[in-house]
Structure formats: structure tokens, C-alpha cells
Amino acid sequence: MQQLQCIFLLSESSGEVMLEKQTTGHHVDRSICAWFWHQYHHHHNNDQMSVVTSPTHYLFPLIRHGIVFLACTQLELPPLLPIEFLSRFADILSDYLCAGAGVTLNEDIVKDNFVIVYEVLDEMMDNGFPLTTEPNLLKDIVLPPNLVTKVLHAVTGNSSPSVGPTLPHAAASTVPWRSTHPKTITNEIYVNLVEQLDASVNRDGNLRRCQVYGEIQVNSSLPGFPDLTLSFTNPLLLNDVRFHPCVRFRPWESSQVLSFVPPDGHFKLMTYRVKELKKIPIYVKPQLTSDSGNCRIYALVGVRNDPGKTIDSIIVEFQLPPCITSADLTSNHGTVDILADKTCRWSIGQIPKDKLPSLSGNLVLEPGLDRLHVAPTFQVRFKIMGIAMSGLQIDKLDVKNMPANPYKGFRAQTQAGDYEFRS
């Protein structure tokens, strides 16, 4: 049976149990958390498996914002069910507890609002099976704390029930993601193309692989029952797409347009992948030569196919191999830091107009080692505002069923994902 038997929330830093929710008659002892905590610290953090077998249960840990969301079960189930559920739970908590507050979710916020967390979890899951995970529906049943304090506190002065006054009628509606009684309406919609560029370049400077994962994020605040159509100038370059449930499938099949009735607030309208891109915006040329216990390092960073917009927040990072005892690195632009875990971080920012940023220095190898046998990988991070590197462009957004024409805003940005250069 597809069933999670218990959900724990732990602090990632201390392992303290912040919340425990038993969902079935089978009681999961919280000693499992201590067991997990022990395991977690014995592994390298990065190598935490997504499914952990404990002596008694299967654990699905999901770590977000310094909080470990831990689901336990003894039953065979689709592994993505708990993983997706937990990540949805984490998203919803962020939305509930932090939306508009200008902070990200953290331990303290969860501890301060644990009653809300219990209430939300209670509605999200019954008997260990996920139930309602639509944020709009949930907000009808359990009011978010901000609204509670802001609106109701102002009105009544004292009483502040966090339970909605009415029931979610939308449960019976055909568009469950759209609340039937939207709150504040500003009559505007923002569409944001966010792309992540993955690329790897091998030792010889050849592009081995380059692809884009993109998301269309929408923030909608429209009255009534708006019917929207979003079209692209070049939809054919999309390789694989996934949609929010509000997107109608047929129009996409026949003419590659997104036709949908949007939920309120932030949501991910579509995710897509574009493979086999040929051009990367920025390159790194690392050179390492070593002999008699020393390794000379020289790395150059430059723009290759000018995207036409400024490339921002460029950071180059590489891991110093364990066999290096000391490193002396300087750069002609930006700052170089060597972090505690032997990561060398070169923060460049923007590339200056007059020169190419370069990093040079000397690495001293362990005694007894003549040459460096391992080759570090240089990872690059950057951000480009105002452009989607895949080349995807929004053609237009048509709005139907609306009394007044809303304000429409469009943005795009690209950032580096796994963007690496091998030396």
C-alpha cells in the first residue's frame, strides 16, 4: 500500500526533532531520527542517498533550508511519491510561513509556527497518503499566519483563528488550483523565463555537452476566471516539456501554444529542456604544469559568444587536490579565496572591458610526489539578466474572459548550472 508511516522534521544543524507526525496505527519510534542523524554525519553531506535503509524502516530524507524532512515507511511504494510529496511540503511551508516576509524558511520559523505546520500537514496527508497539495486549496482550509495576523488581528483585535471561515468549494470545481474567492486582486501578470545552462568542456577545450533546463515562472493576480494563451516565436527548439496541471494539452499538441486558466500567485507554468546547444557564453582556459614537486597553474576567463547582455556574478571554483600542501594564487581581477574545504574560489564579478581576468600561482605538492596526477575541474557560476540562452522567446500573451486589460510583465534570465571545465 502506498503509505508513509511517519514524518519527522529535524534540524539539519543539531538533529533536534522539531516535529513528529504519525500517520498510521503503526507507531514509528523517534529513535529512528537519532539513527538517521548518525548516518547523515558519517556520510559526506553531499553523498546523502535519497533513500536510506535503516534496520527497521526506509527513510526518505529531503533537506531544504537547513531542515531535514524525513519520511519513514516499511512498505514498498513508488520512490518518487514521498520525494515529491516532501518537496511539495517544503515548498508549501515556505509559501505559508515566509511569503512576503522577505526571509527564507528556517528552523526558528518552523518552531515558532509549529501549530500551523501540524495543521497543514494534517490536511496534506491522511493515513499516510497525500491528499491536498494545492496551495490555494490549503489556504482556504488553513489560513497562512501572515494573513491571520495582518488582517484579522487588525479587525478583531484579539481573536485570530487560523482556520478559514468557509470550506474549500474549489475541491469540487474542475480547476482545483484556482481559489473560488481570490483575495486581493491587482490585475497584473508576470511571466519570467528562468534558464539554467549546463555545459562541460573537456581537457582539450572541446564542448562535450551543453543543454538548458528552463522554467516559466508566472506570478498571476487576475480577477474572475481568466483564460490565457501564451505563445512562443520558436517553440520547436524545446526538447521536452512538462506542464502545470492547469495547462491544456490539446492546444500544445496541435500548435505549441500554452492555453491555461492560471492559479493565483506564484507557480511554475512549464519546465523544459533544450539539448545540444552549440554556444556557451563564457569560457575558462586552465593550464596546469607540474614538475619536481611544484605545479604552476594559470587560468584565463573570457567571453566567447557575446550574449549581448552583461554577464554578472562570475565565480570560478575548483577543488585543490588533497595532495597539495600549500597554494599561492593571485589574480589580475577579482579576489581569490581558499576555503576551509580546500575549495579555491575566484570571485570575478563582471569581466572588465580592457583586460581578460586571469589567475596564476603555484601549488606545492606533498613531499615525495613529483607530478600532479589528478586534474581539478573548474566550475563556473554566473548570471545573465534579460536573456534566455536557449533562444526561447515569448511571442505574446493573450488574455480572454477579463473585464479590463491587465498589466503584463515579461522577464528572462540565465544562470549557470553544472558549468564545468576540466583541466
Binding site: Q2, S31, E76, I83, N127, F129, G164, A172, R242, F243
Partner: protein, 832 residues
Amino acid sequence: MAPPVSAPKSASPSQPSGKSEVTDLKLQLRQLAGSRAPGADDAKRDLFKRVISCMTVGIDVSPAFSEMVMCSATSDVVLKKMCYLYVGNYARCNPDLALLTINFLQKDCHDQDPTIRGLALRSLCSLRVQNLVEYLVAPLAAGLKDHSSYVRTVAAIGVLKLYHISATMCHDSDFPAALKALMLSDPDAQVVANCLYSLLEIWTQEAANSEEAAREIETLYGKSIIYYLLNRIKDFSEWAQCLVLDLVSKYIPSDNSEIFDVMNLLEDRLQHANGAVVLATIKVFLHLTMSMTDVHQQVYERIKAPLLTLVGAGSTEQSYAVLCHLHLLVMRAPMLFSSDYKHFYCQFSDPSYVKKLKLEMLTAIANESNTYEIVTELCEYAGNVDVPIARESIRAVGKIALQQYDVNAIVDRLLQFLEMEKDYVTAETLVLVKDLLRKYPQWSHDCIAVVGNISSKSIQEPKAKAALIWMLGEYSQDMMDAPYVLESLVENWEEEHSPEVRLHLLTAVMKCFFKRAPETQKALGAALAAGLADSHQDVHDRALFYYRLLQYDVAVAERVVNPPKQAVSVFADTQSSEIKDRIFDEFNSLSVVYQKPSYLFTDKEHRGPFEFSEDLSNLAIGGDSGDDVIHSAQRYEENDKDLLLSTSDKEENGGPTHNGSSTYSAPSDVNSSLTSLVPSSTTQPATFAIDDLLGLGVPDAPALPPPPALSLNAKPVLDPGTFQKKWGQLTVSSSQESTLSIQGVASLTAPQSLIKHMQNNSIQCIASGGQPPNYKFFFFAQKEASSSFFLVECIVNTASAKAQIKIKADDASASDAFASLFQSALSNFGSS
């Protein structure tokens, strides 16, 4: 698998001691209990919060139970929720006190506000106290008929909770029937889904003992219900969709057009934002198309993109789980993924378990078109900072070399690794070069030249050292200083800690001796003496064995220890195809993540009867009644996992006829050489002065008596249950491929014809199934006047006129004789 000792519920040191806090809370609650003063609710709320936070950090606040219940008479919803939470947590340990809560919960079940009704009902059902079940029935019955869908969803799950507390009470109140009616009529999709969820669990649990429940389950998997659910699929929440899709994956459509209808309907689910829905859909597609090889391949093509996107775009947690599924598919049909190899390149930031999976996939999909690219990529990983991954990459290069015919470039690369002078790289490479030489002896000259330059002193790892020693022994005629290297190794016998290395050293010195006796004689004597004195039993035994063998006859010893070897064509696979197939059946489950079928790791008590039905039970027994066969043929297709294997099972055809283990071990070598002695080989390698050396004659090798002709019992009896058990217990003793005659293929229009034919040869069929061109049979036969059985799995493809035969035998020694008998019977098929 012992459960962890449940830790005493002690508060962590950082927490204040609970005792006084609880007493304090009790006192304050008591004061507030009856208060109707303004602001009392706020005060209560603060207190409740404190109680719950104590509960959350693990302090036992159950002593305050009665006070909490007293305070719960309130109209404040938040207070109620906190109270429900508290009660739900402690009712189980305080069944007597729980009775106190029944009253107010029952009252709340009649509240005007549907939210309260729903919450109260949920809490009531979550008390899970055995002696309170009678109070559940009425509110549940009312809840199922409530006009608010919210309450109905709660009630539908509530029935399941009641069932787990008291199954009889649930049945007595006729709740399953009510749920079924609700499922088929309710306008709210979530209610329908919850009913389905509860019914599935209730009936699945009952099915083993009750025929009625089994029938009900059949109805759930039947056409009308499946269609009813499929038509509403888009109304369901994403989680309910997963549930429905799981149900559909077990549905058996009546014909192909139905299959296409279902797939067309579900195609857009592949683009759902929820990865769980996507995987559930993929499972449906794979299972529906099992019997249609072409379409099945198209399904692979179709699901590739969504899977690759999920791997790349999702969170790390998600991406690993999906990658495991992708891994499974890639291993099944590597050819279909050969052009996507770039997706399996490792990223620096991938965790090492992800890299490991990717390396395995890269190895599997390497073929003529992409080998160069893949090997180039893998070679870059050899310089990886992550040493285990660097090792794994080198092994991957070696495996690819063993798969490919054109190994020229790869061998060069491997030899370059040796020049890197990195200890672990050298070690891994040596092991690989050894395996390569066993398969491609023609490369020995190139390899030996490089290997000869490696100093045995620089190698520490036993496996690598053993490999080097093996090469020294095997190619001692080509390596000038082999006897001297071996001699120095023998001199350091005492310092060699690994028995594996010492075993290899013994064998290598022997081999070297046969080729270059004068130079090695001294080393051999020293090695045998050291071996005889060795404390390790195997080393001692082998030394003694060699010594006696040499004493008996040097020529025989040479044929035993160093016979001319056949190149190994295929190295055996570690995971049996049966296990792989089983995992494939359990697609979209933890089995895939663990790479083990669930029966190997899940607890017995949690297994549903459906997931684990043996495939044999789905096949027609005996295959006489025509109706049964058609029905079972479809059932069979659902379970047939071998169809796609044609692309991937090349590693199996060779079977265990060649050296099975991938690590070289001398004993098996000796065995195979002993058998090769039997047809008394005439090619005696040139020997010189060996007789003088040990002064022994050369008697002829004793000829073994020819194996007695195998005769079979004409009317053996074996019931399907025993067959199944035996099949599970025995290992495959022989696996072969055989060709059918053209007449045979022509007459194999239905399984019956072959069954009759085999019967005439005293081989009985116990189960059969399949549709053209693929048939699968299970046969058995019994040795005359003996209790030993032979079990056979035979997969016939009429299109290629090939049959794949797997034989398991009680008496493995007779299995070869039986195999030839079976083959001849099969090849005669159609000609008589």
C-alpha cells in the same frame, strides 16, 4: 534486521526537565477548564501550545490528559485542532482516558461547520483504541453520506482506519460495500480516490483468505472500473492519479486497440509536473506493451525524453530515484539509448553514487558508433579527484573493451593508464589487462611489453599483484626476466599477506617452470616448500597438490596446470536475468532503487498477494484446455520480460560453459583442465629432461568411463507447486541456444504441437504461453528409475527459428546428457 532498541523517552539535555513543567501546565489548565471569562480562549491557546510543544520535543505530557479534555469544550477551531492533535497522540497509551474524548468528538461530528465535522471525524478514527470502535460506526456512516465532500473524503479514509482496528466491525457495518457505491457515484474526485485507496487496501488484505474479496479485487482491475477511473483521470489530484495509474498498470486489455486507446488517453500524463505521475505513467506504458515488441520499443523512445528531463531538472533526491529507473531501462535495452550517451556523462558535482550509475550505463550503451567518444570521456575521469570513481572509470573502460570487437584503441588507452604511474590506476589497469588477455590473447605482445616494465614492488593491492603474477606465469616465455621476478617474489613469501597472491604465485611458478625449467627450478622448489609450510589451508593444499602431481607425472602436471586455453568469449554477469526481470516487473518501486526485487528486502507481512504472484502461476497448467491457454497467454504476456532481452542478453548466450567467474581463480582452471584431459589429448607440449628432473615415468592418463546413456521416465509426475519450488531452488546448470528446423517452425502455430512432440520424447510440459512469434514453455523430465528431475525453460522465437534453453537439474552431472537429448528432440520437431 533487529529493530533498534526503542530509546527511553528521555528529554534531550538541552530541554528543561519535563516533570515540573507538566505539573505546572496541569494546574493552569485545571484553572481555566470551566472559565468562560473573556480572553480565556487566548490563555487556553497559549497553554495548549506549550503542551503541544512539550509533546513535540518528546516530553511525555500524557498526565495532563484529563485536563486537556476538560478544556476542549470550546468553539475555537484552533484550540480544537490542537486538542485533536494531543488526543490523537496519547489516546493509544491511555485507552481509559480516551473514552473521555469520545463525547466531545462525537458532538463535533454533528457541528454545523463541515471543517469541524471533518476534523472531528478524522480525529475520532485516529484514536485507534480497540474498545472504542463501537462509537465510530455511526459517525462514519453519517460521514459517508455527508453533503460536504470534505467530510466524505475524511470518512472514506476513516473506514480504512476502522478496518485496521477491527476488521469484523468494518464488515459488520457493511462499509466496504458503501465505499464501493460511493466510489462509483460520487461527483468529487477526491472522494472517489479515497474510496479506491481504502478498498484496495481492505480487499488486498482479505484476498488471501476470502474468495469474495478476491473477486472484488478482480472487479477493481476489471474493465468497467478502470475505464470509469481513466475517464476522470484529469479530475484527480496528482497523488490520486498515481494510485489510479498503478491500478491501470495491472489491467490486462483485451486487444491491441484497447491498449492504444489507454495509451493515447494517458500520453499527456508524461508531461505532468509531478515526477511520481510521470513514472507511474511510464510503468503503465511499459506493462501494456509487453507483448508488442515494436510498440514496446517505441514506448522506450517516447519515455526517454521525460526521464532525462526528470533526471536533469529535478532536485538531487528526485534525480537519483529517476536515474535508478533509467538505469534499469538502459540495462534492458542499451541499444535504444546508444545515441543519448552524452546524458550519462558525469558532472563534477554529481554525488559518487550517481556517478557510479552513470558509469554503468555508459558501459552498457557503448557500441560501434559511440565507443570512441565514451572511452575518451571515461579516460578523463581516470584523473578524477574522487579515487573510487577514477577506479570505477578504468574498470568501465575495461568492460567496454571486453564487449567490443574493435579493441585496438582501447588497449592503447589502457596501456597509457599504466604510464600514469598512479598506484591505484596501475592496479586497476593490471587487473583489466589480465582479463583482456584472457579474451584477446592476440594482444599479448603489446601488453606484455608494457607490463614487463612495471616493477612488482610498486604494486601493493592483492588483486593487482595477483594479476601481474598471473601474467608473469602465463607469458613467461615472452618476458625475459619472468623467472627472476617470480623468484624474488618467492623469496619474500613471508611478507606476502594475501593468500590470493600466494596461490597465484604457486601457479605462476609452476607455469613458468614448464616453459623455462632450468631457470625456474630453484624458485619452484622454494615456492613448493614455502607453500607446504604455509598456514593458509588453501595455499598449503595447492602446494601439496602440485607437489604430488609433479611427482606423479610432469607431463600430466603440465596438462593440468598449464593446458592450452581457449579465449574466454563472455564473462558471466553478476545479476541473473531472472532477478533483472523481476525488478522490471516492479518498475516504479523501491526495488528499482535498491536494484533488488522486493521479495529480497521487504518484510513478509507487508507484501500484498498481488505484487508477488509467481509468473508460473499465471501460465496454463498442462496446456490442454484451449480456453485456458488463450486466457493465460495474455496473462503471460503481462509477465513476459524476455522479449526485449534479445537486444541485451548477448552476455548470456555463452553461459557457464566458459570460465564463469570474472576473477581468475586457479581451482576452476584446474577443473576445466581435468575435463579436457579426458579425451586424452595428443598434443603434448615439448618437454625436455623433465624425467631426469624428478625421475618419474609417464603413464597414460586414465580414461574416464563414458557417461551412461540417459534414459527418461516415460510418465513422470510433478505437480506445478513442486516445479515452482524446485525452479526457485535450483541454479541453471546448462543454458544453450538451439535452432529449430524449418518444418518445426512451420508446425509451431500453437504451443500444443510442440508439447505433444516433446511428450513423445518423455519430456512433459507443465506450463506454456505466448503468442507468435514468441512462445515460452516450461518442461520437465525425470531420469529413469531415479527421483532426479530436469526442469527446462524454453523460449522459442519462430521468427528467428531459435530456441533458448535453460536447464536446471537435481543431478547436475546428468544435465549435459539431458541437454543434448533435449536438443535433439527439439531439432527433430516437425520432421516426424
